[in-house]
Amino acid sequence: MRIFAMLTITIFLFAADFDWLDSLQKAKELAKKENKTIMVMIDQNGCEACEYMDEVAFEDQKLSEFVENFFIPVKIDMDKAKILGLKAFGTPTFYFLDKNGKKIGRQLVGAATAKVFLEKLKEYKKMSEVSSR
């Protein structure tokens, strides 16, 4: 019993700490408040690569911590994203926006392992710092 409790706690600790927002508007408000960069993940139903990101990559502790500390994560369905001007020919596609909704760099297309994705996020963080200066 104790072991079981320990396990659940550990899992809890290591689980992804960030929550996805579902509206770009909310994300912008939060980004202004916390002075963070918006990370838009465009997904669609039945997308295996997106599932991989959610269930494997973002479960990585380092990656999820990094996202939580420096980004405001938003998940938008492909059709809605299109209306917002965020085009994607496939999913997942990641857009990075500043607090005003301006695009930072190019969009990331496709899933990646936690390690690779983390490296990319670091690049975007740098870019956003440059642009906000």
Partner: protein, 590 residues
């Protein structure tokens, strides 16, 4: 967990390409490159092909082809087996499948191919779709039609209904014309020949042209009747012809035929009142044929309703089609061309009757009398549906013996008479003898005009027969009773739709069901007879439940479900019926 591990390894591999410094999505290829769809015309199908780039895969359940024009419809696809990939059914490299023309309407069509897939590199593409426009021509369709013919054993009626659904207008019309021609060879149309011939022979100053016009009017009226009756029946789902099988109506018509026969014998002359005749004659001076045209049309109309109540497969098929789709126009056209096919031989005979009997003379009275006798025969044939067979046989006997006497069978022929007198006497003698046999048959329980001496023949096998039950059909009248039987029967159920007024039903009963081999096969079935003679509300419901338009029809059931493939509509000879029974058993044994 295993799933993620496998994906994980894949992504390690994709890591090499996915985010290379030179560009983010260099190895993530554009959808246009990843998927290359095409639809091309093959021999009698469309070949759909989606070529996939390396590491691109396609979800099986996302592949769809929709018909956009002329009617929106999702097509059922026969897709090849797919690979299992992370619990999904997918295709790699390429997907190829065919859509046969037979599943598509004719003319201009628009297809929408939609599909969705992913790349192993970690990207799922958006759903994609592409429209294609094609034209399917008649000739290509008819090729398939041939193919389909070889495909066996959809029930005849279903086949016809599907012919209507799938084929082009012309193919449908020609097919139905053909069915009509075949129908003309059945007893259904037979009684119409003397009616038409007598009209033509009875007409004054008959010319070939006039004979043709009369025949045409007659056939057109008949065709029109079938068409209208058919369309109405289809739209309202009721059996209009059954309504005309009412004993009163049949009696009235039998009387009309008797009256016509007597007029043929010269007792009196039936015609429009003189005043009306002259009026009409005045109106149609140059086209002298018009006088009787209306009468002929009425005769055609009535003959169709009364004389031809055969529920033959083509008719039923067309009606089912109309009933199901409500496409009364196509159904009506098909019925019209069916009846025209049925009438085509009549047209020839009618015209011939005018052509080969050009000169009026004393011989014409003789011919008229022959037709008079035939018309009496028609009258008896009609009352057969409402009178017990012993009485009708007696009537037949009277007709034959009477005709024989009329031919002066028992008077001496003067020496040196024309050879025709001898011929007449011989024919008369034969008729007399046949009449005697019928007379005998009427009192010994024969029920078939062509087998009056049945009793004598049966003496031999009578011992074995009495041990077997003669009629082991259970009679039912409503859906409820049927369901009861279906529920409780372990054997497959054979349901025979029957009515006293249905001639083909009687043929089935006396010829097909009476066949010893058929009887033997029957032992493996629970036999049920749905008696719809009364044409009551319950009867009609029963017919409607199975989309039938009237008897005879034989349906097979197993475990409460109908085996639609083996449905039998109309009369079937013992051999054919035997084959169907065996096929049913075979299919159940599997």
């Amino acid at each position: 967990m295993k799933k993620f591990l496998t994906i994980f390894t894949i992504f390690f591999y994709s890591y090499l390409f996915a985010f290379t410094p030179a560009g983010l999505d260099r190895e993530i290829i554009e959808p246009e490159v990843a998927f290359k769809p095409s639809i091309v015309r093959d021999k009698n199908a469309f070949l759909v092909q989606i070529k996939l780039a390396k590491d691109i895969y396609l979800y099986q359940d996302k592949v769809k082809v929709e018909l956009l024009e002329p009617k929106k419809k999702n097509l059922l696809l026969k897709l090849p087996p797919a690979e299992d990939f992370h619990d999904d059914k997918v295709y790699f490299n390429e997907l190829k499948f065919k859509i046969p023309f037979s599943e598509l309407p004719e003319g201009k069509i628009k297809l929408k191919l939609s599909y969705q897939g992913c790349s192993k590199a970690g990207l799922c593409y958006a759903p994609m779709e592409k429209d294609y426009v094609f034209e399917i021509k008649k000739s290509q369709k008819s090729e398939i039609f041939e193919d389909k013919k070889q495909e066996s054993m959809a029930s005849e009626e279903e086949k016809i209904a599907s012919t209507l659904k799938n084929e082009s207008l012309w193919v449908v019309l020609i097919t139905f014309f053909g069915f009509g021609l075949l129908l003309a060879l059945t007893p259904c149309v037979f009684p119409m020949i003397p009616i038409l011939s007598s009209i033509i022979v009875g007409a004054k100053d008959i010319t070939v042209k006039k004979a043709f016009v009369y025949s045409l009017v007659y056939v057109l009226a008949m065709a029109l009747t079938y068409t209208i009756a058919g369309v109405l029946a289809g739209l309202f789902g009721s059996n209009i012809q059954a309504a005309f099988q009412n004993p009163w109506i049949i009696s009235i018509f039998a009387l009309i035929f008797v009256a016509l026969a007597f007029s043929m014998f010269g007792f009196y002359e039936i015609g429009l009142p003189a005043s009306l005749q002259t009026k009409l004659a005045k109106k149609s001076d140059e086209a002298g044929s018009k006088g009787g045209v209306i009468g002929v049309a009425i005769m055609g109309f009535l003959s169709a309703l009364i004389v031809g109540p055969c529920v033959a497969p083509p008719l039923a098929g067309a009606l089912i089609y109309i009933g199901q789709t409500g496409d009364a126009l196509l159904g009506g056209l098909a019925l019209f061309s069916l009846s025209m096919g049925m009438g085509a031989p009549l047209l020839l005979i009618g015209t011939g009757a005018g052509k080969f009997m050009p000169k009026p003379g004393p011989w014409m009275t003789g011919v008229s009398r022959v037709f008079g006798v035939v018309m009496l025969g028609v009258a008896i044939w009609m009352v057969e549906r409402i009178l017990p067979s012993s009485i009708t046989l007696l009537l037949w006997a009277a007709l034959f013996i009477g005709s024989a006497i009329y031919l002066r069978v028992f008077e001496n022929i003067e020496k040196g008479s024309h050879w025709f007198e001898y011929l007449k006497k011989s024919v008369g003698m034969l008729m007399f003898l046949y009449g005697l046999f019928l007379f005998f048959g009427a009192f010994t329980g024969a029920n078939n005009l062509f087998d009056p001496l049945k009793v004598l023949k049966q003496k031999v096998s009578i011992v074995t027969k009495t041990t077997k039950k003669e009629s082991n059909f259970k009679k039912i009248y409503s859906i409820k009773e049927l369901q009861e039987i279906l529920k409780n029967s372990e054997k497959p159920v054979l349901l025979d739709f029957y009515a006293d007024w249905c001639v083909s039903c009687k043929e089935l009963e006396h010829i097909t069901f009476a066949d010893e081999r058929v009887k033997k096969e029957f032992e493996d079935f629970t036999l049920v007879k749905a008696d719809v003679t009364a044409n009551s509300e319950e009867n009609r419901e029963l017919l409607k439940k199975f989309s039938l338009f009237g008897p005879p029809a034989i349906l097979f059931f197993k475990d409460g479900k109908e085996l639609k493939k083996y449905r039998v509509i109309g009369y079937k000879e013992p051999e054919l019926f035997l084959k169907i029974l065996k096929d049913v058993k075979k299919s159940l044994a599997k």
